[in-house]
Amino acid sequence: MAKLQASWVHGSSVQMEREGYFISKRRTGYGAHFNTHGKEWFHFAIPTPVILDGQRASLKKIFVFYKTEGAAKITAVHVYDGGGKPFKKFDNLSHSGDHSTGVDKDNSWVITPVHSMGFGLGISVLVNFGAATTSGVPGILFVTAGADFVTP
């Protein structure tokens, strides 16, 4: 019987790819809040149980809980096993709204087939904040991110 293991990090640990004053950022007890314009990548480093009970673990599902503001939307999620190219890409997404409190179809992605993990798991999220607006600066709140692993 397959054994499940899950690993999560809090949203306050997320890293933006580019540092600079063009991103207004705030880390709180309930997550990390970013406001800006245009497209930006954000990266989660997930603690990865590569070996579980003497067997190699495989990635089954990933999760990113978030809440968008204004025009911001998630347009891609890429999944990494250590370095190199992503082994799984979820492109052409258009996810927005409040997906910060529970698992739903817009904040979880099934990895099929399961991927045998060799190194650390990275989840990268591309957010399109959109163009400049007069009503406010688009934003996103990352609350938490995680993954389900399975062993044979």
Partner: protein, 382 residues
Amino acid sequence: MTLAEYLPYTARDTLVPDSIVFEELHQVAETIEPISAEVLVHKAPPAEVDLSQYLHYIRWQGGEGCWGYSLLSIWDIMNEMKCPYSPNLSLNLGLFLHRRRDLWEKKVPPGINSPDGRFHKKLSEKWVDQSFGCTTEGTEITNPTIRWTGWWTNEGVNEAHNYRLASDIKKIPTINSTTFVNCLANGHPIQLEIGGKDWGHLVAIVGYNFKKKTFKYANSAGDRWGNNGFGTYTFDEINNRRSGSIDIRNAYTIEIIPPSPVPAARIKVMTPEKGGRRINVNLWLSVEGSPLPKRKIWPPCDSGDNSRNLHYTVRLPSEFIWPPSPGNRLILDLYDSAAFSDTGGTLEEFTAAFGGHIVKSSQLYSGPVSFKAHEHKRFYIP
């Protein structure tokens, strides 16, 4: 460079002539093929183009540095067109590296390390602007009046990447009114080199008027020079490459990497024409409740800027978290020292913006606010 090696320079009167930069520009001009600007032909150029609407800050260069101030004028315009409310660019590093050529010219290969460890190799005329980028006035205020100026700053390292040239400065292959009109009609202000027998200068061509057959240029002598800081050349003067005793020499354009919006404040202070001379205000930006010191944004130390007005855009203090709110207010402190003019003046604009989201000071809702000589006033957003 160690601190012991660095300190003596801080007291040294390091004067490097502008002629060195002119020689470098001439080298650019002589190698025209690889770096000539493509001038797109505008089939029906508008009757008038005035890119000065995008140029708010009229610089005052003091004795030297026209090569930098004119470049920043055309760069400011292009930033404002691509990304409104971009901060005005600073010549702090430009003057520093101009005067401290010993730090990079003699290296093999020529170049310099920025404090973040990157090596910026001199591959072109505007190598720093392409590789490192340019800092802004709110971060590294330009001080044109002292011989020693500038240094790297941590905040400058964090912002300069947002303000970079996409390629080296490019020479306009043919200098005449038609090519200038085409450049301007396509949104490219022009850096123009003029001069006489033993001097040279650079200005920024920012517009044209077909009816008057004139080009408008921005100088870098403050806003009491010419017509609020601007002058004109006729089409004929450009075509004949001569204006009175002045030679019209080479002309250049730039391509920028469009910057991302950053939270910024735009401030406009005016001194009355009647009885007023140069502006006397001191300006500080701060965040309400922040333990960090107020950021002095005007004037530079020992400034000789004799402008009557200041229209200035600077990045907000880095500790400010967008958006401004009643519990998170941005503060502008204004003090009129009356050092040069005892008329007082008016604060015409105090606006914070991040991209298209613009928040004005509620104290200016009913119009400009006057201040008197020796008066301190504090303004808030919101």
